[in-house]
């Protein structure tokens, strides 16, 4: 039971982190119709910038400054790159962001090399906040939960209480209303892209010390982020939240419990073959839940898309 509780908390951390990425991606998608393949790359940039800043001024400055830099870079990319491609249609846009993801990874390697950076949590948070049955829960993770929650609340406030937020919300359900933003649609697009990427950058700043700051971090998380917003429903913020939490818990619990296929097969009446390593079904017999944990989100996505193409809470099909 104690372990279950710990896993709930760990899954929550993973899920909320995922949500920080997904919310920015969803915002961008809702407003601009662009599925930003490079979104996780901005997350990576956030972590690297924060690391670089932290070597000079410490963690907290990085937390403040890095997301801003990432946001500015994002806005510039929208202004001088994406906008140019926009006229060719959505598929070239997707290809552009895909190329951007490749390029950002190369640029990061160019400047920081290939090894993992020694980016770690601030000393002030480097202690165990509490522990459950010997398992300590780092203070930093508590901080992560509060940061993600805080971001969510700010976002919720903006979306429900401000004019721009209302328009964005309308755009979630009715893409045509984007045109009613007034005369400066391009500026709004640029800002949305900047804010969305800054949120990804913030996620990177926070996740870097825990999940590692290395050139593969974008790729590792990238496809999961798309999977999440597709499962949640493209353009649905609540869907993104729900899907993020589902995937966070799914992955945590899949890794946490060693459910073995062997036990299941024996329980339903099959007998394990004598010499398992020569058996054609050896892989089935030796399968465990942690082994397939990382592919569960993809499996879930395929099911969702086949059964409910608009996603769990999505209102529109693409």
């Amino acid at each position: 039971m104690a372990l279950f509780l710990v896993n709930i908390l760990d899954g929550l951390v993973t899920g909320l982190l995922l949500f920080m990425l997904c919310s920015g991606l969803t915002l961008i998608f809702s407003m601009m119709g662009v599925l930003n393949f490079a979104h996780a790359s901005f997350y990576m940039l956030g972590a690297y910038f924060a690391y670089q800043i932290s070597t000079v001024t410490g963690f907290w400055m990085g937390l403040l400054v890095a997301p801003v830099i990432v946001g500015v870079i994002g806005a510039l990319i929208e202004r001088y790159g994406l906008r140019r491609v926009h006229k060719y249609g959505h598929v070239p846009e997707l290809i552009f962001t895909f190329g951007l993801a490749l390029l950002i990874e190369e640029v990061v390697q160019f400047f920081w090399g290939k090894s993992q950076m020694a980016y770690s949590e601030p000393l002030a948070l480097d202690f165990a906040a509490f522990s459950i049955a010997g398992n300590s829960f780092p203070a930093y993770k508590v901080f992560m939960i509060f940061m993600a929650m805080g971001l969510f609340l700010v976002l919720l406030y903006i979306l429900t209480k401000t004019r721009i937020g209302m328009t964005i919300q309308a755009a979630l359900s009715y893409p045509e209303t984007v045109q009613n933003l007034g005369h400066n649609v391009p500026l709004v697009f640029m800002c949305v892209f900047g804010v969305g990427t800054a949120m990804a950058g913030l996620a990177g700043v926070i996740a870097g010390p825990v999940l590692g700051t290395f050139p593969g971090m974008a790729l590792q998380l990238g496809s999961i982020v798309f999977v999440t917003i597709v499962i949640g429903g493209l353009g649905s913020l609540w869907g993104a939240l729900v899907a993020s939490l589902i995937i966070g818990w799914l992955q945590t619990f899949a890794a946490a419990y060693n459910v073995a296929m062997e036990d299941i097969l024996t329980a339903i009446g099959f007998t394990k073959p004598e010499n398992i390593w020569d058996h054609p079904l050896q892989d089935l017999w030796t399968l465990t839940l942690p082994q397939i944990g990382p592919i569960l989100p993809y499996l879930l996505m395929v099911f969702v898309l086949v059964l409910r193409p608009q996603g769990l809470m999505g209102k529109r099909e693409t």
């Binding site: 599925l35 790159g81 140019r84 491609v85 060719y88 959505h90 598929v91 070239p92 997707l94 290809i95 552009f96 895909f98 190329g99 951007l100 490749l102 390029l103 990874e105 190369e106 640029v107 390697q109 160019f110 400047f111 090399g113 790729l219 496809s223 798309f226 999977v227 597709v230 493209l234 054609p280 079904l281 050896q282 892989d283 399968l287 082994q291 397939i292 990382p294 592919i295 993809y298 499996l299 996505m301 395929v302 898309l305 086949v306 193409p309 099909e317 693409t318």
Partner: protein, 429 residues
């Protein structure tokens, strides 16, 4: 012998089409035949084989992206599946005495590629655009991940290997030497390329274009957009499987790498760089990419950075890829005004090349400064050796780059004017 039997076949299939269509193919076949006479080393043959395989794969990918409007992030799956099955069949030939001449292996791989495309296409082709792209990504990741888990079939991390020479001899060839494999590969390259070209000329091939352009309209002409995409997808799966089998024959090993996102991504890159709107595009893309990868890779560590820059620049400025740039000159050519462009082109060539080389030098020097060995500041670039840690070399490169870029920017209006002039015959272009 294979060759002799191939040429009449080429001619036969194309008889109903004009000479101008047959000629490039015949020329290509001849060229491929004499290529190994010029480049005899087995590494040159290996690289040419790899190009041939990449061309088949890229053409099959372009059936989706270029002709069907389907952006796939998981096309490696069908090539890989075809290759893995081909490899298992190869091992059955070796260990269970199955009788199968090696040149027929690609048919088997193709069939399995097709089978998987049939199954996965049944649900993924319902929609084009973003949803298709996402499903292809998901399925791609899924199967790549499964390949590590299902060791019996995929061989886990180390993959599965085989020996191509164990089958029955084929007209006296046992395919131990690279050159025999080369001929097998290019014969299949020709067959596959011709078939794919012909496919684009069939009713379904044209309707695939129509669905790409305007799926709603196609539906109101009696065509189910899903079925049209599905059929393209299946046919594309077949040729991807053929490419996979050729891979199995050439490298005698298949690993997870043949299925993963990186491979799927690079075929997108190759096809797009070459030009998705043109049949020849993926062919150009495959050749350029293979050369960049093998040759540039020999000279610089940051070759993939250059590739990334090239790709992003291409998406932004030349969405038609290399083939598109070439095709842009078709109109001046037909107007007989191509000569108007040669002057400005020649004029810009030197500063343009200089600026590219000097910008690359800036990157190389920066990279060397940052990641080179500390005691080892010596660096040689374009045949010049210097100390990368001082500021002279870097400064010089930056100055040269700035000057040449300035020159390029000065000449640009002239090119633009010449371009407008060369295209000016009737209305807008």
């Amino acid at each position: 012998m294979t060759i002799a039997s191939k040429t009449p076949l080429t001619a036969g299939t194309k008889r109903l089409i004009s000479l101008s269509t047959v000629l490039p193919w015949a020329f290509a076949a001849l060229f491929l035949l004499i290529l190994p006479v010029v480049f005899q080393t087995s590494s040159a043959l290996t690289i040419m084989n790899q190009m041939a395989i990449t061309i088949v794969f890229a053409l099959s990918y372009n059936m989706l992206l270029g002709q069907g409007g389907m952006l796939s992030f998981g096309h490696a799956v069908y090539m890989g599946i075809g290759g893995f099955f081909a490899m298992h069949v190869l091992n059955m030939v070796e260990y269970q005495g199955l009788w199968l001449p090696l040149p027929l292996l690609p048919i088997i791989g193709g069939m399995f590629g097709m089978l998987f495309a049939f199954i996965i296409g049944s649900f993924s082709t319902r929609r084009a655009g973003t949803v298709f792209a996402m499903i292809s990504l998901g399925v791609g990741e899924l199967i790549a991940a499964c390949s590590i888990i299902i060791v019996v079939f995929f061989g886990g991390e180390e993959g599965i290997s085989g020996d191509r020479t164990m089958g029955p001899e084929f007209f006296g060839m046992d395919f131990a030497s690279q050159s025999e494999v080369y001929y097998l590969t290019v014969v299949w390259l020709m067959i596959a390329a011709i078939l794919m070209y012909l496919f684009s000329r069939t009713p379904i091939g044209r309707i695939a274009n129509a669905v790409r352009d305007n799926e709603e309209r196609a539906e109101f002409l009696g065509y189910s957009q899903r079925n049209v995409r599905w059929i393209s997808f299946i046919v594309s799966g077949f040729f991807a499987g053929v490419a996979g089998s050729l891979f199995a024959v050439n490298f005698e090993i298949l690993t997870e790498e043949n299925l993963n996102l990186a491979t799927s991504g690079s075929i997108l890159l190759i096809t797009f760089l070459g030009g998705v709107g043109f049949f020849i595009g993926p062919i150009i893309g495959a050749i350029v990419f293979t050369l960049l990868q093998t040759v540039l890779g020999l000279y610089t560590e940051i070759w993939s950075l250059y590739l990334g820059i090239l790709f992003v620049a291409s998406v932004m400025f030349f969405p038609g890829g290399f083939a598109g740039v070439i095709a842009m000159h078709r109109r001046p050519l037909s107007l007989g005004k191509l000569h108007l462009l040669t002057g400005p082109y020649l004029k810009v060539a030197i500063p343009a090349v200089t600026s590219i080389l000097s910008l690359a030098a800036v990157l190389e020097i920066l990279f060397h400064k940052r990641h080179g060995f500390a005691g080892d500041g010596a660096m040689s670039l374009y045949g010049i050796t210097f100390d990368s840690h001082g500021y002279q070399a870097l400064g010089l490169a930056i100055v040269i780059a700035a000057i040449s870029l300035f020159l390029v920017s000065r000449i640009t209006p002239e090119i633009k004017a010449a371009w407008d002039e060369a295209n000016h015959a009737g209305d807008d272009q």
